[in-house]
Symmetry: C2
Subunit: 340 residues, 2 copies
Amino acid sequence: MKKVTTIHDISARAGVSITTVSRFLNGNYSNMSEKTRKRLEHIVQELDYHPNSLARGLKSQSSGIIGCVIADMGNPFSALLLKGIQTVCRSNGYKLMTLDADNDSLLEKEAYKILLDTPVEGIICNTTGNAAQEIESVSEKTPLVLADRVFPSKKEFDCVVSDNENATYDCLRYLRNQGYERIAFFSPPVDAISTRRERMEAFCKGAADFFNADNGSNVYVVDPNSMEETAQMLLDFISRSPSSPAVLFSVNGEMTLQLIRAAKHNGVAFSRELGICGFDDWPWMEVTEQGITSISTDTVTMGVKCAELLFERIKNKNSAPTCRIVMQNHRTERTTTKRF
Amino acid sequence: MKKVTTIHDISARAGVSITTVSRFLNGNYSNMSEKTRKRLEHIVQELDYHPNSLARGLKSQSSGIIGCVIADMGNPFSALLLKGIQTVCRSNGYKLMTLDADNDSLLEKEAYKILLDTPVEGIICNTTGNAAQEIESVSEKTPLVLADRVFPSKKEFDCVVSDNENATYDCLRYLRNQGYERIAFFSPPVDAISTRRERMEAFCKGAADFFNADNGSNVYVVDPNSMEETAQMLLDFISRSPSSPAVLFSVNGEMTLQLIRAAKHNGVAFSRELGICGFDDWPWMEVTEQGITSISTDTVTMGVKCAELLFERIKNKNSAPTCRIVMQNHRTERTTTKRF
DNA sequence: TTGTACGCGTTATCAG
DNA sequence: CTGATAACGCGTACAA
């Protein structure tokens, strides 16, 4: 491409020093003749000059870039989270560098390295859960906020999460009151993903309290790529006591979809005798016949809060106590529209 | 936060010159004593030193950053496109800076300015359609690839698009053969969005050829935020000739969802007499009762191709003729599962 | 009102 | 094998 035009080119063209140009670029018109200003205005336009942020950042020791590590970029959740983050970055004059960990903790770790190298002025991470040490280390060097997912650590982190435990527990009470007598939890491998773990644990508690289920017996962990396996477990659960109303509790939207898919392919119909309920309220859930009761929080807002918290840290350089923002989950109650 | 450690800190600590440190960092071990190397290895570890990419970029005149402007970050399409782009960026050792235009051409224009300032080494844009001049100008300074959407211009651009026209036209033939006698096109405002325009025009052609519809009479442009309006138009179409089998053709996934929602809220049932079909094949479409026939292309792959094309340009600095990659759309044929 | 000169952290060209 | 030193593009004391 064309050679990059610099502040020197402008100064040469205008017959003034680079200092004057720099002043002009930074809107420092206080000590500048009207003539010079007009002149520079014109030339900058003409040459379509763009000051180099890299150089600027090097000088000012601030890149104006926020980094964001996303566990799985393909998930609709990620797009919404990023939208929220983006909005706040824009209004603060910051740019956003996003890295996808692709559900791989190795890639996640690499991502932190890349962001530190850049260097970014702050990091928002939606972790895979298996990069605790790196995150701890990174947070020593750069303001950092955890988004949606946390992990056990001696250190405390700024974070924005949702109240998975209460929402799950309350939902189980609700489901019991709806008349369901049996319940099962479905999830992809829980791994170190805090949201899944919290939901699972609250489920076990709620199942024990409201459904007299012995711990763990109704927890199904399935390979998200194998519909056969999901179907098998689904059928297993159903067959156990076919006469009492049962409900499936899904750990997230993808799992919910998988369950519906498995049911459909095996001729299992949702009805008053078999309900489905789970985390995430995706737009399509409103229109399906299954009547998915969903638990969710506003993801865009979560992104906004993450970014706001981060900028709080960046701007105030404060060492205020770590801040844990807990967003409420909202339950959308639905029942099957199927006619009998 | 802590003061940033620089190459100087390392050199001081190691008692060698910064040159040696730089050599070490760049894996230039050819002329270096084993001892020095070990020593530096240790110190870099100990101080957890990260070379500053800004400074590096300033020197090498390359930021290692790719820019990406996305029309609407909240759309699931965007997440998938970005995932594809990300993957290729990573394997090429580049970082990705993503900006959301939020469906606003003003924000889109700002985004280009920001990316040029950064400066990025290349740009992928999924345009709102109303930033033609800016994109033309940007493409003079930086390699640029259009993703999914194009716009009329004297200049030709590298781009990756899908064959909206053929897919639409062929689909209309298919629908006619399925026995539908009437068809209507539903879309949010077409504006300058090429995908919508192409689909609409092909629809009109197909409607004329296969459905004897006079041009435009069956094109409904609706406010995506008003379900009432959508419902009104839906009912209008249905009522016109209730006895002949009709099918709705939706310009994209969001519109499809909106149509289903409107139908549901108004007691309109999809059946053999009323079908629905449209662009985008989102996972949930497989499990709905409506039997949505969908037209789609692999979005992640589209992202991959965009990025590959861009890197081709960046690496070869070639002025080869502009390249237009057209991805095939695939039709997934479904019919309602509703029982009568 | 404007200009000179230095430094930000790095790489690369020389010279030792 | 190693080290000064000059860039890269910009901002800013300090000087004029």
